[in-house]
Symmetry: D2
Subunit: 410 residues, 4 copies
């Protein structure tokens, strides 16, 4: 591969990506374009601009974008239509943000004529895969530079030395190792590494920064109503809201009530297990609410089909295949099932739990007339069940008869 | 079909099955054998014997069995190895008990030379299917009588008249309709019908009888350790216990902490939706614990495979196909994956939640050496990730190139 | 259910449905509307009109439709996009025609204000299910009358008596039983029953009427080219043709070369096994050609996904669930994968076989540059494979190490 | 990684692996152990021993094993129980042989105290993956050397120079490039590369060396009977035979009748498409026969389950994951379904086709009594079908009613 001349860097403004920025300039001698996104991680972006300028990036090479609405509308919501959870429990909060970043890296590279992109993910994790598969799918000709897989700055000491040599300011509290590593966006905050590395040891309380400890959550339950249209949340307590606003609101509610903490050991795509603590306050409520509205609006045929393909869909997102033909084909299936997933769910929020307590919809398939224990005015003829069962039992009877016949002969 | 001469009745000793008992005697003129099982429903069985005698059943025709250990060991535990949930949330507490009852109905019929069995399930529900498929699979020649599909006692008034005419004692509190219908066993208590029939209306508090209301649960969390061997729980806090004892103990803990309540609208096999409230205190803890131990002992290949077939497995159990070749084949797959699912999980129980906080095992696949953010002494070469990603990306690059080529030609 | 006053009958003009027609008039005393469709079964439809008139049907109540193009375009082609085969081998030729008939029965009932439909399928087969599920999904309020499940004309003698009593002419060759039962349409001809009922006995040669015996097929192979657009065949040997014309042409070619005979024992939805002989000349060629074009235009991700859901899709069609949310959701998935399935396949037809021998496409994903044994000018770095394999192997190594550790302790 | 001191080489005795042998000695300076296996590829093995000796391998370091029975019994037969085909058509003839070789490489390494294994597969193909995943799963500590990914002998000229310099004899006909690359074993012969690289160009006739051209196959059909026990073929025409003997016999029959040629473009695990011609004479017959016996002995529940997991199972084998927990779990499922797959199939072999024409078994589930068009003496009550259909239709009716209601409101 030839040396790239212009590189778009996914730049947070933090110490690590600032070092990468400088390292790209010195090691590759290339022009660096920075891309910094607001995904709802709760950090100011202006400091990133200042820092980039200070590190010699030209004004026109600094790209700062507020992607919160795009993130929720085009990534989070489609994923929640599937009730996607990875390995039974993980709501994919980091996984789903990566393809969005890859998309804008690729776009900015295209616009600026860059021939490479760079990111700050390590060689052991899933994020490198997600970034690079996304970029490959969108701009197949771009090179990808992953400094953590290349450089020799493999210890904290070496990193700080490099920073010092290159006049990169290091905040006092960044001099030592952080006790764990954090990723945050509008959907979740994840913590992993260091004090969390032994899965037999409980996570310290201070790991969860976003969600109130259950013990400290209010002693009174709160009830909310979430309204859906075609599988997406569109209103809370009757107030129509934009996608990002809805998730923000649910995050506040979830965080207040201690909802959405997960201590988890997962299987990374690169082959090893890792342990993380995930905080997904709004997402946890949203999943419960979406399941609640599907319960009355989704038919069993479509519902069971969705359930059966969900693990594969979640795995694709986890592994970084958002921009793949198979994820898109599964999305077409999922979206098709959501045409009538509209209505309202009432939830009780209390001490770490979000629980559906009622749901109603103009699109409901629930038929009180059919299910009632009372007289049903001929809606359902119980005698039909006899034939239904007898034909479902027929093959079982044939098997039992065969088995008895064979056993006797045996 | 010819008239049966001897019928084994699944007999609870309650009003409904007592009426059925008498109805079989009068309508079919046949000898009735009663079968009453202790599945942990928390009721005395001796009264059932007295009532059967009083209704003219001969001593030797009364079968009363304590099936709690068999229930947990041969039905509940195999199912929990699969992390089975129906439609995302329901732990199948009623579904899994029915094949066990069917098995003993068939066995007693075989032993006593009966030519039919009878049950008290209605023609609208799943239980009729589960009983009858089970019986068909085990004794294909047996007739099944389902009085609720046949008789004309379709109102409360008619039922009470029949009881009166036949000297069946009716307890005062049974004269009116119960506000909802209940099924209970060691795994769960379900409530459905009547006040629960409108899914838009919250369930009244008095529906949950088994589990403490979350608001009233202790304000202090409790920590327990559950130990597994080959996928089955074998000890709590280091004390080895029998299957039924373990589930009983977890039920006490769950009930105390308000754990395991589900308000749910589900799709019945017979084609309609119904709403129920399920209380599964011990099962909810057990599921969380089993997932916790699988996290460190189960490989991703086996784990993702299990996840992908779980919905079908759960559906088979829900629909009554426990004794079917396909459930048995899936069980073989699931059991094969559990060979190393041994170890201990520490859980926090608090205010409606059971959460894994730590797990350890001699069979652990977790490798701190590989995952660490620190120096890993060569366990993992980060450069391998570059090749891994490039080959995974290859087809995505080829697709993107093709799509661009086609678009250009357009 | 109340007696219907107007019934739309799926009427072939043959003896059986003529008897049904008369039986509906006499038994139900209702007005009968006839619906006769040309699905390519190779029979004149005018005689059906004459016979209906003769049996007292009013001119305006006789509906005769040529559905060949609709059949292929909206039913056969969508199904072939999935490479659907039931139980590994059956191309679903009967199954796919039934929902089309159900659709028009429902439409005509709607137009004519009929309150019921009737069909001539027996109570043992799949076709009754397919007709009735289709009608239920499209006009849920319609009654369905299935005379074979109701009447007492259960022997040949009784049927002929009824015909005689009602002045229904019986052709000489219809006086005795046919040696087997036949269904035909543009996609296939099926034969079952009577001489075919013992699966241990070979089917007599005279069963296959549509396809030349392989032994008599030409001794020289024939080569054809089939062109696809978005998964559907659009041209043969460069000549653009309508859907029904393409299938007709392929049928001629297949029949000539002895292609598409299947002797098969299948599992009916109603619970029993049955044996049939299927002739699907054009469909067999079409399936091979479609697979051939997918080989170069479909990515492995989308392709393997399609393969994995195909059996469920085929089962849905076989069982009669064409008009169901789950079939439609699967179709959305399948259609999404076909966007680039365009190009041309060259096939060799010879002595019962249709075999792809070459394929090319502007949408091809095949990259000779990558695959070549020769120098590839840097398209692919073989060293990448080392990292790819090492990371794929990592979990296997961790398992082997764990197993050895446990075994040693054991 | 440290340099290995002793390497076990998968050695065919051919030019390429002889060059590798010498290269290992010179490049790595290590002791080389050769492993040569008879998998039914139809070559003498003694010349390999002579050549190894000549290249300086010590007598005790030469391992030559006849693995034909193990190959068929422990690899081919288990795979055929699943009716495994990759991407709809490929019978996995190369894929299934690789794990067996990996197993013996690992075993010999273990026995001889070697610290590495080496193979002659290129860096572009699947075989490197299959070898190396197998070795990793069985002896996780072994290094793997893949010279084609490492060395600089990247052209024919360089290879021949190296051979000359190292006194490796080069047969005259090996001086030029072969027109295509071949792999053979008892199950199949594959050809790929060079003249086959353009999938739009028909394969030349001379590619197929193993199977008679269909045009030259006998003009008279031949009928055979294959008997199965628990899913495995055990006899031909009533004669009990060992696994390898059965496959050998079927190969002769298939080759004679022109059966089992496939021209195929497939998706390699490493991300590219490749085109191959496969000859699988006996395997093609075996697959047809196995499907034939399953048709009457396997229940639809188990059968459809098998069909639905087959593509994943085939993909695992293709990708090299034979020794993985997920393949083993799937095998447990598959084997469970085969307990009654015993009986005999009669096949017609003629001009490229193997077709089941009859099948019988003591384990048959086929019930002529149920399926018959004639009087069935009460085996089946056609009225049951009405209830069966009505309950299956219930949800479709509810959907249609809901959709109409919503559309009206709309």
């Amino acid at each position: 591969m030839k040396k790239p001349s212009k590189v778009v860097l996914a730049y947070s403004g933090g110490l690590d990506t600032s070092i990468i920025l400088k390292w790209l300039q010195t090691e590759y001698g290339c022009e660096v374009v920075t891309f910094t996104a607001d995904l709802g991680q709760g950090e100011e972006l202006e400091p990133a601009r200042q820092k980039a300028l200070m590190l010699g990036i030209r004004e026109e090479n600094i790209h700062i974008l507020d992607l919160r609405e795009e993130f929720v509308k085009d990534f989070v919501f489609p994923m929640f239509r599937a009730n996607a959870v990875y390995e039974g429990l993980y709501l994919l909060g980091t996984s789903i943000a990566r393809p969005l970043i890859a998309k804008h890296l690729a776009q900015i590279a295209h616009q600026t004529g860059a021939d490479a992109v760079a990111h700050g993910a390590t060689g052991k994790g899933n994020d490198q895969v997600r970034f690079e598969l996304g970029v490959a799918a969108l701009e197949p000709g771009l090179q990808v530079i992953a400094p953590w897989r290349e450089w020799d700055l493999t210890s904290r000491t070496r990193l700080l030395e490099f920073a010092e040599q290159n006049q990169i300011p290091v905040a006092k509290n960044k001099r030592g190792e952080a006790p764990f590593s954090v990723d945050a966006n509008l959907l979740h905050t994840s913590s992993e590494g260091r004090v969390l590395e032994d899965p037999a040891v409980e996570a310290p309380d201070y790991v969860c920064e976003r969600i109130t400890a259950v013990e400290d959550a209010p002693d009174t339950p709160e009830f909310i109503e979430v309204t859906f249209e075609k599988g997406d949340a569109v209103a809370i307590d009757g107030e129509a809201l934009s996608p990002a606003t809805i998730l923000t609101r649910l995050n506040e509610l979830g965080a207040k009530h201690g909802i959405g903490i997960l201590d988890f050991v997962e299987n990374r795509f690169v082959g090893m297990k890792s342990r993380g603590v995930y905080e997904t306050p709004g997402g946890t409520i949203l999943l419960e609410a979406h399941r609640g509205i599907e319960q009355i609006t989704l038919d069993s045929g479509a519902g069971h089909l969705k359930d059966s393909i969900m693990p594969r869909y979640a795995e694709l997102i986890y592994n970084g295949f958002w921009f793949s033909p198979e994820r898109e084909a599964l999305q077409a299936l999922i979206d098709k099932t959501q045409e009538h997933v509209s209505g309202t769910v009432k939830l009780k929020l209390y001490k770490g739990m979000a629980r559906t307590v009622a749901r109603w919809s103009d699109h409901s398939l629930y038929s009180e007339k059919h299910v009632t224990f009372e007289e049903d005015a001929g809606a359902y003829d119980q005698k039909d069940a006899a034939g239904f069962i007898r034909l479902n039992a027929l093959r079982l009877r044939l098997i039992a008869t065969r088995n008895a016949r064979v056993a006797k002969k045996g």
